[in-house]
Amino acid sequence: MNKLPEKHFINNSKGIKSWLLTMDHKRIAILYMIVVMSAFYLAGVFALIVRLELAKPGALFFKGAAIEEPANASGAPKGSEAAETAVAADETGAGPEPATAAAATDAAADVAVGAEKTASNNEYKPIDPGMSDAAKVSMAKSQVFYNKMFTLHGAIMVFLFIIPSVPAILGNFLLPLMIGAKDVAFPRLNLASWYVYMLGAAFTLFAILHGTVDTGWTFYTPYSTQTGGDDNTSVIMITMGVFILGFSSIFTGLNFAVTIHKMRAPGIGWFDMPLFIWGIYATALVQVLATPVIGITMVLLVLERWLGIGIFDPSLGGDPVLFQHFFWFYSHPAVYIMILPGFAIINELVTVHSRKHIFGYKAIGFSSVAIALLGFMVWGHHMFLSGQSEFSSMVFSFITFFIGIPSGIKIFNWVATLYKGSIAWTTPMLYAVSFLILFTIGGLTGIHLGALGVDVHLHDTYFVVAHFHYVMVGGTVIAFLGGLHHWWPKIFGRMYNEFWAKISCGLVFIGFNMTFFTQFYLGSQGMPRRYHDYSGMMKTNLFESLHGFSSLGALVLGLGLFITAIYLIHAAFKGEPAGENPWGGLSLEWATTSPPPTENFLVDPVYSHGPYDYDRVLPEEMSAENAGLKREKDRRL
């Protein structure tokens, strides 16, 4: 039976200091894993709250809000008024005079539409005047609460989980192993990036606790420069948090790019490395080139709020669409920072578990880099309707279509890799297959949103929510889960429980599709995004049934992910030892003990075979003692 090596990177030095001041890329990967996964589950809780709120029309939380509690608890700039909209607003059409909710009598509500001398006075009013005061107070409070929840769900998922997740955890652990290096190029910078991440997370946490961040994760001005009135702290806190997290992302990207260029073991050329490295390289390029722009945008947003420098706020001579350009110039390459590591993982899962040479190595490698570079020219498709000029919408739509090609090529290549393989139905393979299916749906619905005419109808509706969840959750998160299961034995040296893994994979797949496939219909039927409540519409009951089903799916997805956490953590400590090469992989990380020693290899590796040479080399011949096969260097023809 396999047994653990007595000395490896986890037990070779004890104590909290040895972990917190470690220079070992493997330990930093585990430090990242702890923090990033807890951010994932925290944001997951926020997602569940959002879904429960939307399960039923009307306010779910703060049901029993006491009446004497004044409604404007949120200190919204105009004083949150529960009395509904009033046309009798003054000439400048500014928002209606704030009327304190508690004192609003029903009479005031009826007359509010102004002296409209209409034959049929059943003019529609968004908040039906018949609502009792308690209902109005609870509606106002739960609205503010909901806005905060979806903002924090978005911000924490994007900045704290999905951008650092694969590069910082699996990338950190596997990059030096896969290219035969002792460590990443700058170990101190690697540790610094973890501490910078913690600082950024602290800022974000403070913004959560301080509590008035309700701008959405995109911080669109002029709302983000006005919300919260003169209480600047929480918006400045979260934007500073994003600015600092940007540095952590830059440090990781810079570190990986230099490592791949300079630290490869002798004999390993660019086409002898696993495609995981190509994916991580493309991600590093995007991280280094895109993140500074969000840095300067966040700094200027803070200056706009604090000093009023008049660059984004139209009342001070700025232009809000310019903020969107700056924001999306980072955020679209950021979605490629999210998906490219997902692609990177799938290469390894598909080849190792079907024991077959990758189909089209160069095609996949170069398409990763192509996506990374093209990703910088397409951000305008987020802004087709934001008032940008028609000419730029055309240009962005045209370039956007070309970015669909490389991802399509990748999917075809992976499917072709399965042909004539010997496919083991292990959990990582199940995750890889569900990635192929779900990411295809995500990618194809992107074409709906790229086509200008259709985007007018679908923009900012639940169709967009479904699309990016299919690409992000169906793509990156599922690939990440597959990668975690695939390399869990290598990181901790212990195997997880295969039965529970398959159960949770099934739950995740079913729950995910229940939640988000219904949202495609919700979106095309016109349900707008970021709506706390959809009562009072003509389609309320249609939306209610779809939202109900979607919320049910969210519970199933949540359950699946919860089970995953349990058995993986259990396996890390008490799983039975997994041996050096449980899946029969050929890349260098399987040519060392699991968990690997601190200096990664027992003996320094030299290139002996390609990572996907399943047609020439049997994985069983590989062993940790000789760091791969001790064969004379016969490079592939």
Binding site: H261, L289, G308, L316, S392
Partner: protein, 223 residues
């Protein structure tokens, strides 16, 4: 990795550094002189009857780019180093140009289909407030002389009718450009107002010899 690296990395002769330094100095002088005294647009218009705007800027940019490439190639050794660094440097600039060009597609063509869709640039409210109480407004020519109402024509359209500043309302009609001698600046009456910015009291500020906005050197600043 080259197993054996020559001990002495590539070192440039001394005169390359001094030469490049000298060229940079000269180019700086050229760009300053052309910037201040040479009005290319006007010259091109009388000589070639062609309507161009921003030629000065283009010339300044060409000179700046020449200086930039000199610094990058010689001082930063891009010419002699591994070409990957040149690729990284130029790559960064290309991505920056992607950003500028594609965003300019939007900002320049906004009103192209319908003029009404173009951005309406309104003056921000801070100037209305400044006009409303001009006494603590500072000015280029010196401290806090109340600009109150010697604006173009009668500005007293209900916005700042209060006559608190000692000047009273200057003569109507067009204001004498630039030469509004403020010798008799009623410094006393609103001394507290004008120095509210924590800058220590200057005593007699450099009122007299303020040569049109370009405070020569810093003799005037006593701190």
């Amino acid at each position: 990795m080259s197993a054996h690296s020559d001990e002495r990395p590539h070192v440039l002769p001394l005169k390359v550094y001094y030469g490049v330094g000298a060229i940079l100095f000269i180019l700086t002088a050229v760009t300053v002189l052309t910037g201040k005294y040479l009005h290319l647009d006007a010259m091109v218009e009388d000589v070639f009857k062609l309507e161009f705007t921003g030629l000065n800027l283009m010339l300044a940019m060409v000179i700046a780019t020449v200086k930039g490439t000199l610094v990058a190639l010689f001082f930063m050794h891009l010419l002699y180093d591994n070409k990957i660094y040149m690729l990284i440097f130029v790559g960064g600039l290309t991505f920056l140009s992607f950003f500028f060009i594609l965003t300019l597609f939007d900002t320049v063509h906004r009103g192209r289909v319908y003029a009404e869709r173009d951005t309406i640039w309104t003056e921000s409210e801070i100037y209305d407030q400044l006009r409303a109480n001009p006494e603590n407004v500072l000015s280029i020519h010196g401290h806090g002389d109340a600009h109150g109402s010697d604006a173009h024509g009668d500005d007293a359209h209900g916005s700042d009718a209060h006559g608190s500043d000692a000047h009273g309302s200057d003569a109507h009609g067009d204001d004498a450009h630039g030469s509004d001698a403020h010798g008799s600046d009623a410094h006393g009456s609103d001394a507290h107002g004008s120095d509210a910015h924590g800058s220590d009291a200057h005593g007699d500020d450099a009122h007299g010899d303020d040569a049109h906005g370009e405070a020569e050197g810093h003799e005037g600043h006593g701190h």
